[in-house]
């Protein structure tokens, strides 16, 4: 449990600082909210099928030596 709390601390503190800084600025986005209609199209969803993506990620982790870089995975082996 100590490991979990340490990790949470390492994650939350930097985000509070970054979040605070971004909140203070009067940043003008170069792509305005009303210009994001194409990005909102379902064909632009980066993970439109989460249950399928998660399954295929497991298949590749079982058949190849590399892993990660797409999000954290958990679970057993199923790879014999």
């Amino acid at each position: 449990m100590e490991k979990i709390f340490l990790a949470i601390g390492r994650i939350v503190l930097p985000l509070l600082v970054i979040g605070g800084l971004s909140g203070c600025s009067n940043f003008e986005p170069w792509v305005k909210p009303y210009e994001r209609d194409k990005l909102a199209d379902p064909i632009m969803a980066l993970d439109g099928d989460p249950v399928s993506t998660s399954y295929l990620q497991h298949v590749y982790e079982s058949r190849e030596g590399a892993r990660g870089g797409e999000g954290a995975a958990g679970g057993g082996c199923g790879c014999n």
């Binding site: 870089g69 999000g71 954290a72 958990g74």
Partner: protein, 369 residues
């Protein structure tokens, strides 16, 4: 299973949806199938709860099994539960995954925080996962080993133009404990082999630690007509000397109520430093392995997917807003560069290299409400 809980995009909670999926992997003498059911529902204004139930039913007569053991069947069952909490531009997620099979139990706890910044053009995500696994061996009740895993991740999603969105993810993973596969063996040269093969088998012996780093990037572009193209790349390196490059190109094309997707994926990796197809003698090195997944290999996948939306927001059924059915096939081919096919029964040293062909089928129904 952070991926199962949706790509990080804070400021808005993920959509309420249910997916019911059937998956089938068929190749190399191995058949794995089963369901996966994901349910996500918002509770109040700030919370979203997600659950996933997943089963692998394995029937294996793979090349590893038929050359050194007997075909077997087994089942793996996995449960996941996650909660997203949205506050302003910050989304916090906690999740727990439990996976059980007859000889392997895994528990994974994960936590992540996402922050929307700069007029919602940028989303920064920091994540941590802790895995606590127990490895057992069928037929040996006294065999029980631990494996601890930790994964630190940082991810950035960036809107670049009106048509282009990109992500960058970095993960560092550490494994500590029993990393062997308790059933697999290595092959070593043995001129006195009584079976006349010229080689014998002995247990694998892996290092007890492994640290991996993976850097992944993706970019998706909305084409001048209504279609999208996506490119992705991942670089991976670990302390076992496995280094890999993975790249993929995807094209998505909607037509009426259908959406068609085609994808090509390429993966190339070097082998682990303790991997050998044939060791010169018994106990030749401190660490030794002959897992084909840790050998140098190149894999190619060609994917075809079709989705049909049978229910949209103009014709909703009661509380259901949208419904779709999706079918896909991923055709996987792996060329192993240093893993011999011993089923060919060729003289030692003349065995052909093993090649794997597998088809991965999926069909799933999705409902939004």
């Amino acid at each position: 299973m952070l991926m199962a809980f949706g790509t990080a995009h804070s400021g808005v909670l993920p959509e309420d949806r249910t997916d019911i999926l059937y998956h089938l992997y068929d190749g190399g003498g191995v058949e794995i199938d089963g369901p996966s059911i994901l349910v996500r529902k918002q509770v109040g204004k700030s919370l979203s709860v997600v659950g996933n139930y997943y089963v692998d039913m394995v029937s294996s007569a793979s090349i590893d099994v038929i050359t050194t053991a007997s075909p077997y069947t087994e089942e793996r069952e996995q449960w996941s539960l996650g909660i997203d909490y949205l506050r302003g531009n910050t989304t916090m997620r906690v999740g727990y995954t439990s996976s059980e099979e007859s000889d392997y139990d895994a528990a994974t706890y994960n936590f992540s925080v996402s922050q929307d910044m700069f007029g919602d053009l940028t989303t920064l995500t920091l994540s941590y996962a802790l895995g606590d696994d127990i490895v057992r061996k069928s037929g040996d009740d006294t065999f029980e080993k631990n494996l601890d895993k930790q994964i630190y991740g940082i991810g950035l999603t960036q809107i670049l133009t009106k048509n282009l969105i990109a992500t960058l993810n970095f993960e560092t993973m550490t494994d500590e404990g029993y990393l062997n596969n308790p059933y697999r063996t290595v092959r070593y040269f043995d001129a006195s082999d009584l079976l006349g093969r010229g080689y014998g088998y002995e247990e694998e012996l892996y290092p007890n630690t492994r640290t991996s780093n993976a850097l992944g990037m993706r970019a998706r572009y909305f084409l001048p007509y209504r279609a999208a193209v996506e490119g992705e790349y991942r670089y991976f390196i670990d302390t076992w000397d496995i280094e890999s490059h993975t790249a993929a190109l995807t094209y998505i094309h909607p037509w009426k109520d259908f959406t068609f997707t085609g994808k090509f994926r390429y993966h190339d990796q070097t082998g682990a430093h303790f991997y050998s197809d044939l060791f010169p003698r018994s106990q030749a090195t401190n660490f030794r392995g002959r897992d084909k997944e840790l050998s140098p290999l190149t894999s190619y996948t060609f994917k075809l997917k079709a989705a049909y939306t049978f229910l949209n927001e103009n014709q909703s059924w009661g509380f259901l807003k949208k419904g779709s059915v999706t079918a896909s096939i991923d055709m996987l081919h792996i060329d192993f560069h240093d893993f011999s096919d011993l089923t060919a029964l060729a003289p030692i040293g003349d065995e052909p290299l093993y090649k794997l062909d597998a088809d991965v089928f999926q069909i799933f129904f999705s409902f939004w409400y």
